[in-house]
Subunit: 679 residues, 2 copies
């Protein structure tokens, strides 16, 4: 038995579970998309977590080369397990996502293979498809360069067609044209897909296209002639440590003509260019990757929320109550006011992820049948949600980490690692600032189309611009009187109205826009879309869950809407939308009070359910890998046990004691003795 | 000569320097507090940067035990240099601050020694003072425990007085009472000052007091009997890697009675307690440490601003202009709108730091002469500024890092390291959320005192509550008409008025306060104080600098005030303060537009000065240690050179190729072959 302090921790979390009314298994199945998917998750998690290859205990103590070596071992083992257990590709993806360590093969599976499969010609597919699926070759996706990231049109690598030999010559003309940041390129990948400027005979520049290229020998993994490869070095905050993000330059490297990914655009033998049917046909891949991100962000927030809420439930600090115990920190307003909104966003983004997945499937089918009209809408929704959800998850993980107090800065708390590995998501797959511009541009276009339409009606509106329906109503002031902070419909109306005001104002001032307009408009439009979806989820809850669970999750999603409104207060107030009266001179009245009071009340109502709501994420201790988030609440024992694994604790004397520390101390002692002799 | 792309980089930064009108050396001297201090800085920076012991190139590749061993080497060397060069303690501190690596001796110098010197009795000082000054012993400050951080009153470690032997017995009764997070404790320190509950004969508990204790033998560094020491393990995001933050437990360890730090409180031989003259007399140390933080935060922001502004000046991306070049990214509104406000905060906090230093000296003198009335004000100002400046610096470093785009995630960009080492500042020396509570409590008290005063006048107000002077004026509406975004006085008035509104409202609703009230009130009060100080700086500028420089820095500080107002818009709008008209129904007018336009205009005006304003921070390339912030602008060459130092690039084949990667590839190739044989 542990000392009294820890027994109390265990007691606290146990009691919290007893008090929570939520049916954990039912809500968990709902979050996983059904009991079957939860069972699948459990089965795979058991296999992976019991395998010593995936043990996480030593990771914090390995240097990068060791972490990388270890990742190869993991990649090999996970593939063995896939074959042993006959995992489907969904099951295999699930297993990879459980490793809690981004590895090179992720880039093969999520970037290289999908692009190749979607855009290679049939002969190329026949030759390499099976090799790719079975990891007989490993690929990477070579897009960004040292000098260019989001601006694909300005990439410098060239692919010049040589009609004589029917080859392309891949070349890196400058230092800045070196491919850079490419995951898996430095040491792992044998092949790659290169984005390069297509140059036709006579020097005609066609713009960026994709080319399949072999990088290393399949015999001995040696680098092929004309290619220079290397690792770009370690990443910030110890993130993505095990991935060999690499650089590459090409010195007039020849590849066969049929290595151009030519499902859409083609070059004839003589060097004529054949345009793709739709200029943006090849963007499907990027949209697909982005579509996954909302859901992933939701689960990232869920991890942080679980750790922080469990710890805040067992951590006691402050004056002692009548029971002789200090107060559980989760009962402090400044703590629950940070953690419950995070929990609500985890639920909202996970559910949004489900939905985007469904919408994406429908749209993909239409796209496959040649209907490219859906591309713009898909692009807007996935761009907006990608920017919103990654900005949010990055921020929420850090807010949760800070709520852990001092111990949050320990590696063993687990949230530093989560933050570092999540952080590049704000930049990759489209820098969020660039995506905001595109979302805003689409919103302006949708607005102009709608107001110039001869017979505007709600049926003309796509989901991303549904808020424009408010233009059809003449009720500008109706809302003011009717708003209720407990009615989700009102909250959504308000968020839609805010989106409309911002877009309208932006259209009117497009030529003298302020410097943050794109960010604010994009956020307002995307939050309006998300809120409308959340309202749909709320309506569907009673059919999916028992009454108590449905009601609790309705409250949680209402908290999501309320805190979204709170973060939108500047917009609401500046456009004279409720909350309340803010006329000049009323300096002692704060019209935002009622919103904040509603948030506080809802937090207090949800507080007893917070442990159940986090348990419903279904994370095992192995998955969370956090001393502060252990299921049984024995956080201090866990921190203590982990500290014993630190290599410094296995050394009798500190490294460098004799040469440095002893010398320093002795010299100081002599000086002090000399001084005291002087006295 | 480098390739064309890089020559252009060098050209861009050179041209930017030519265009900047600022007199870099004059502004630099101003920021350093005078030419003498700049010269001192240069001299010491030269010594340290040229010494191979402080070479930074290998740090990213060392594991923690190596980084720690290396830190001992640095500690020994810096002390040698101190003696060789006869550095004053200020010069020595400067040298330590340049190491860009938090090391254990920092805790000796900044926590252990000041507390010991301020609170030890004269006999103890005579015995150990010289040893401490000369690093003949190294100390740590043992306050936080596994179970308790900010709530010092609940610490569990006991110091029980034994009258028979005139000793104290230091004891750790529980797992949670173990000292934890103590910098330098695990492997470095020979001695420490322990916070422990004083227990007198008969079991009378007196509360936490400080005791000096020896931890390790000075002969062989072995741990003394009854003491268990160890390292708590690695820290999040690779921060504070080289420091051996430790744990300790004490098993009835006896120390002599005169090892209690008894300058203020004492215990007689028979076990009677003698109270200190002022209950908070011993808080001076904490206040001193916090007083340094505003300035340190300012310089942290300065580093991030320098890196990001230099990179944004040479990075080109987007459509090509008439000169055939892409656009410098700093000219994009979404970029300069992020970076120039950061620059303004660097200046504001550096200058605030100077000022707090001066105020602190005056207050210290009064305190030394027994006048403890100043303690409360010192506590409020330093707590508020500590919370504000560390929240700001943490955020600004990350905003700057994101403005670097993809390359910002490279270790070589330097901002990840800056972020990780700065991050604990939001938690240590008082968790910011706890400090906010204290600042708000002080503001409520000041308000109540003032309004209940018989003859309230401005002279009664301390600097932290100067905004209460607005209560003396009957001009609630006067401001509305008069506001000018270019007049700093108006901006400060508005920030003071906002503070007053928030405090008033909070006092009126103290029993139904919302959950974030403490944070908002504390921020408003502290920003009001900071703004009033900034106004003083602006007035003093013409005497300190030439007209052009003074005018540019006035603009920069005005930008600080404007962006502070922008971040306060919810408060301003909700209390009906300007900007403008926000009455319901005016849905297409945005009253915040004029403020945002003013910010944009000022940013555009300052843009050509941004390189000069960052050069004036005087950072050498060695100090910044950032490939993206190199002085000559050759960022891509620097990234390239750094990448060559990655150990993975020195291995012919990846570690684990034969055992794992080759096995994986071969198996996949066989499977693919089997499939194609089937067809």
């Amino acid at each position: 038995m542990g000392p009294p302090g820890c027994a109390q921790n265990a007691e606290d979390v146990k009691l919290a579970r007893t008090r929570s009314r939520i049916e954990v298994s039912a809500v968990r199945d709902f979050l996983y998309g059904g009991r079957e998917l939860w069972d699948e998750h459990t089965e795979i998690a058991n296999v992976v977590s019991e395998d010593p290859v995936f043990d996480k205990a030593q990771r914090p103590y390995l240097i990068r080369t060791e972490r990388y070596g270890n990742s190869l071992k993991m990649m090999n083992r996970i593939q063995q397990l896939r074959e042993e257990h006959h995992w489907s590709s969904r099951e295999y993806s699930k297993a990879c996502s459980l490793l809690d360590e981004p590895v090179a093969v992720d880039l093969h599976d999520m970037a290289f293979a999908p692009v190749f499969m979607a855009q290679a010609s049939q002969p190329l597919l026949s030759k390499y498809g099976d090799l790719i699926t079975n990891h007989g070759i490993l690929g990477c996706y070579l897009q960004t360069e040292l000098g260019h990231g989001s601006n694909v049109a300005s990439l410098e690598t060239t692919a010049t067609y040589i009609p004589d030999t029917r080859e392309f010559e891949i070349h890196s003309p400058t230092l800045t044209s070196r491919k850079w940041w490419i995951g898996g390129l430095a040491r792992t990948a044998t092949h790659g897909v290169v984005q390069a400027q297509l140059v036709l005979p006579g020097g005609r520049m066609i713009g960026p296209h994709l080319f399949f290229i072999q990088l290393r020998s399949l015999d001995d993994h040696s680098i092929l002639p004309g290619i220079t490869l290397g690792d770009i070095g370690p990443k910030a905050m110890d993130g993505y440590t095990a991935i060999d993000n690499g650089f590459a330059s090409f010195d007039h490297v020849r590849i066969p003509k049929d290595h151009m990914l030519s499902k859409f655009a083609q070059v004839t033998d003589s060097g004529q260019y054949i345009q793709p049917p739709h200029a943006k046909m090849s963007y499907g891949g990027m949209v697909y990757i982005r579509a996954q991100i909302a859901s992933r962000s939701g689960w990232t927030i869920a991890r942080a929320a679980t750790v922080a809420i469990r710890y805040a439930t067992v951590r006691r600090q402050g004056n002692r109550g009548e029971d002789g115990l200090e107060r559980q920190i989760i009962t402090y307003p400044s703590v629950y006011n940070r953690l419950l909104p995070i929990l609500s966003r985890a639920y909202a983004f996970i559910l949004l992820g489900h939905n985007v997945g469904k919408v994406f499937s429908v749209m993909s089918e239409r796209l496959a049948s040649g209907d490219t009209s859906v591309l713009a809408e898909m692009h807007t929704i996935t761009s907006g949600l990608k920017a919103l959800s990654t900005n949010t998850s990055t921020q929420d993980v850090e807010v949760a980490r800070r709520a852990l107090g001092g111990h949050g800065f320990s590696t063993f708390a687990g949230l530093g690692r989560l933050y570092a590995n999540n952080l590049p998501s704000v930049t990759y797959e489209g820098d969020n600032f660039v995506l905001d511009q595109q979302v805003t541009r689409a919103a302006v276009k949708a607005y102009k189309n709608f107001v110039s339409s001869k017979s505007p009606s709600e049926s003309l509106l796509s989901p991303s611009s549904l808020y424009l329906r408010l233009l059809l109503k003449d009720d500008t002031n109706a809302l003011t009187a009717l708003i209720s902070w407990t009615n989700p419909r009102d909250l959504v109306d308000l968020l839609e109205r805010r989106a409309l005001c911002l877009v309208q104002h932006h259209v009117e001032h497009i030529n003298d826009a302020d410097a943050s307009a794109d960010q604010r408009v994009s956020r307002a439009v995307t939050e309006s879309f998300a809120a409308a979806q959340v309202l749909v989820f709320i309506k569907e809850l009673p059919a999916a869950l028992a009454a108590t669970d449905a009601s609790i999750i309705t409250d949680l999603l209402t908290l999501y809407l309320l805190t979204t409104l709170e973060s939108a207060l500047v917009d609401l107030l500046s456009f004279g939308l409720p909350p309340g009266d803010s006329s000049p001179g009323r300096s002692s009245a704060d019209p935002t009070s009622s919103l904040r009071a509603a948030i506080k009340n809802l937090c207090l109502k949800l507080l007893p359910e917070s442990i159940g709501l986090t348990d419903a994420f279904g994370f095992s201790d192995w998955e969370l890998d956090s001393s502060l988030g252990v299921y049984d609440g024995r956080v201090y024992e866990s921190l203590w046990d982990k500290a014993q694994t630190e290599p410094l604790n296995k050394m009798e004397l500190p490294p460098g004691y004799e040469e440095h520390l002893k010398v320093l101390l002795r010299r100081g002692q002599k000086l002090a003795a000399k001084n005291s002799a002087k006295l």
